[in-house]
Subunit: 428 residues, 2 copies
């Protein structure tokens, strides 16, 4: 970006990011924008208003994903975006940065075309778009990448609709209340067929770029990743009268699950996390009747994920058998390894190299909409350096300068892809 | 009880217990009647209506405890009762049995007086009463024996009023909404001075009586008992990108707390329970920022409780230091050992022996209102055999025949105490 464009982009980025960051921010500085909530509705309004203010035409698809289009709809569209929802008490950058970056980059692309110059070519022939996928985090219904998987047809929608949040509200009812018809959710092949490429920009949430002294990475693959739900069934008992050896306390198997997950992750070189628990009746003076725990496992290879989960389950079973506790373990989701489109990656890498931008190749353990979409359209991901590596935390941060470096690269990439798509279409 | 009285008592007991059991019962058969809730209000209405139907005069004291009086108010009153609140998803007997037994026994005492006979003596000179203490379980605000301790003046009311339930409602606001003036709560020495004796009947919630083949026990003491709150402060992080060795995961210290509590309890011959947890943000795909756990410890001796807690804390600290997790531990409540009034116990034991009833002496690890009241009035407890020993569980059960044995004994005890009190007053 030249200095004038940089100043222009900086102002627009700061304003959009500030507006969006205010939604769902609590007094402690944490962001909670769960899908299908009032905070999600406020973010959706922000998306529509921002699109219109920038001259884009907003729409919502049947899966609840939001789109904003620049120019006539047609084949070969080049789209950028991410998601607007967050985890509970998360940060301001995860997802949000990608949507803001999409808006700024598409706007800069249009501006360059108006101003003319090197990139002001045949853009009109190819549509540029911004997208915000619905419920990427799955923080309310444990239904991650809901919108992108539903759009691709890789989600078991019927099963997802029956899931309930912690207040007992089903996803079906939450969607209806939000104005999305639950029975209309499903794949949209025509929409997908018109997308030539999707490029998602995202905060890194790791320390690779910081350690390497680079601002940008180009995604190579998403590691295989699964979530398992553990239900440990014991027997409620009075904490003050029930002898230790007469108890069937599921808390002991939980402790084993947590310790075993940690040990197995270190042993296998995997990531294993127990971050969510439910205890019933959850009373100080009662031995628990039931403890539910969610185990999240990711690794470079599927066999490593499986080995880690097997080790954890074996350890839990040994403890639970000893205590008379019944173990149920159910896989709630599994995403095989995703390779981003090699052809698109090569095209993006070529643009970055041509512009003198350094982008490290990077595999990630985090799930992303671009990973889900990779099943049906060519996708690529750009990662922007994290400040301190935090993710899913209020401490999540990326320096503005790094965000702008990413936005500049994204603008170059979108324009070049649009030009290539346009040429490819002209060749037909 | 003679066969006619037994049939009469059986019918009244079954009816009252059935009415009360219906309040707060869920489809799975669990009872949830937390203090200051709509279920508590329904139970309070049941108490008032039952009192009036049996010819007793109901009233509520400034602490929210309910009383029902037979005869003129005056010194030397003999009172029986327990509490109407339950833990979350608890059973039908804990507390409820004692209130129903109080009503039935006081009614049988009055009936015997009307019918004349051996016990139909100078009852009119001494008041009989039934009591339901407020919030014995502390299941909503972690404020166990709230009503009885507030009445005695042994509760830090100001601190308790600031406690919040899981929805963020303060006890102060919950009391106001319930119609109890929070600023009016405090000890009532005049009321207590008029009580000559309190006898609480309670389900055993243990297997001692079952093992010994006896229906009744007479309480000797309540073991010392404390609750500690543990706050384990880690750092929220993305489960898919944060390396295991870069995490500050408080879940590992929780696992250590649970395992160490179990081991320390076995080593010291104590009871130690972690039955309640809170996790923040409690998301599948985020390392927890904070885990809070409540540790409940009881033992025959205070030194054993202290030794158990010290061992648990040392184990947690070792793990937490290793993980960069900060530990806060705070004692939320502590009740020293309570000896029930030796004089009253001797009087109760004499009555039971005279009637040929066998009552085993029994110490208990469970807190009770009679334990809290022991600080200011002579109290005694009768325990009725548990079926299977369950407590704080939907499986909590006592056979009707055992309940009626307890009620018969309680009737005898109340009448004899009333006669003795009456004589003692006449001597003044």
């Amino acid at each position: 970006m030249d200095p004038v464009e940089h100043a222009y982009a900086h102002e627009l980025f700061e304003r959009l990011f500030r507006e969006l960051s205010a939604i769902g921010l609590d007094a402690a500085g944490a962001t909670t924008r769960l899908a299908w909530t009032p905070e999600a509705a406020a973010a959706a309004r922000w998306f529509d208003q921002t699109a219109r203010a920038l001259g884009l035409e907003p729409e919502r698809d049947a899966c609840g994903n939001q789109w904003a289009w620049l120019g006539e709809r047609g084949p070969g569209a080049v789209v950028s975006g991410s998601h607007l929802d967050s985890v509970r008490e998360g940060g301001r950058y995860d997802g949000a940065l990608g949507v803001v970056a999409g808006f700024v980059a598409v706007h800069l692309a249009a501006r360059r075309r108006e101003l003319g110059g090197r990139d002001g070519g045949p853009l009109a022939a190819v549509t540029l778009g911004v997208v915000a996928f619905a419920d990427e985090e799955g923080g309310r219904f444990d239904s991650p990448t809901f919108g992108s998987r539903a759009l691709c047809g890789t989600l078991d929608v019927a099963a997802a609709l029956e899931r309930r949040d912690r207040d007992g509200v089903s996803l079906r009812d939450a969607l209806s209340a939000f104005g999305v018809d639950p029975d209309g959710i499903g794949p949209e092949p025509e929409r997908l067929a018109q997308i030539g490429a999707l490029v998602e920009l995202h905060i890194e949430q790791d320390t690779l770029l910081e350690r390497e002294g680079a601002a940008l990475a180009l995604g190579t693959r998403i590691m295989p990743h699964g979530r398992w739900r553990l239900d440990l069934h014991g027997e409620a008992a009075h904490a003050g009268t029930t002898p230790i050896d007469a108890r069937r306390d599921p808390m002991l198997a939980l402790a084993e699950a947590v310790s075993a997950a940690h040990a197995a992750a270190l042993r296998h070189g995997a990531l294993a996390t127990v971050g969510k628990l439910e205890v019933s009746p959850n009373a100080t003076n009662a031995v628990a009747e039931r403890v539910s725990a969610w185990l999240d496992v990711r690794a470079a290879q599927e066999s490593t994920v499986a080995g880690t989960v097997d080790d954890v389950l074996a350890a839990i079973r040994a403890r639970a058998d000893h205590d008379g506790v019944r173990v149920e373990m159910r896989r709630e989701s599994f995403t095989p390894a995703v390779e981003f489109s090699p052809a698109l990656r090569a095209r993006v890498a070529a643009v970055l190299t041509e512009r003198g931008l350094r982008a490290l190749p990077m595999a990630t353990g985090a799930g992303h909409d671009a990973g889900a979409l990779a099943a049906c359209v060519p996708t690529a991901m750009l990662f922007v350096r994290s400040d301190g590596g935090a993710g899913h935390s209020p401490r999540e941060h990326a320096r503005s300068e790094d965000c702008l470096t990413g936005i500049g690269a994204l603008t170059d990439v979108l324009l070049e892809l649009a030009n290539q798509e346009s040429g490819a279409l002209a060749d037909v």
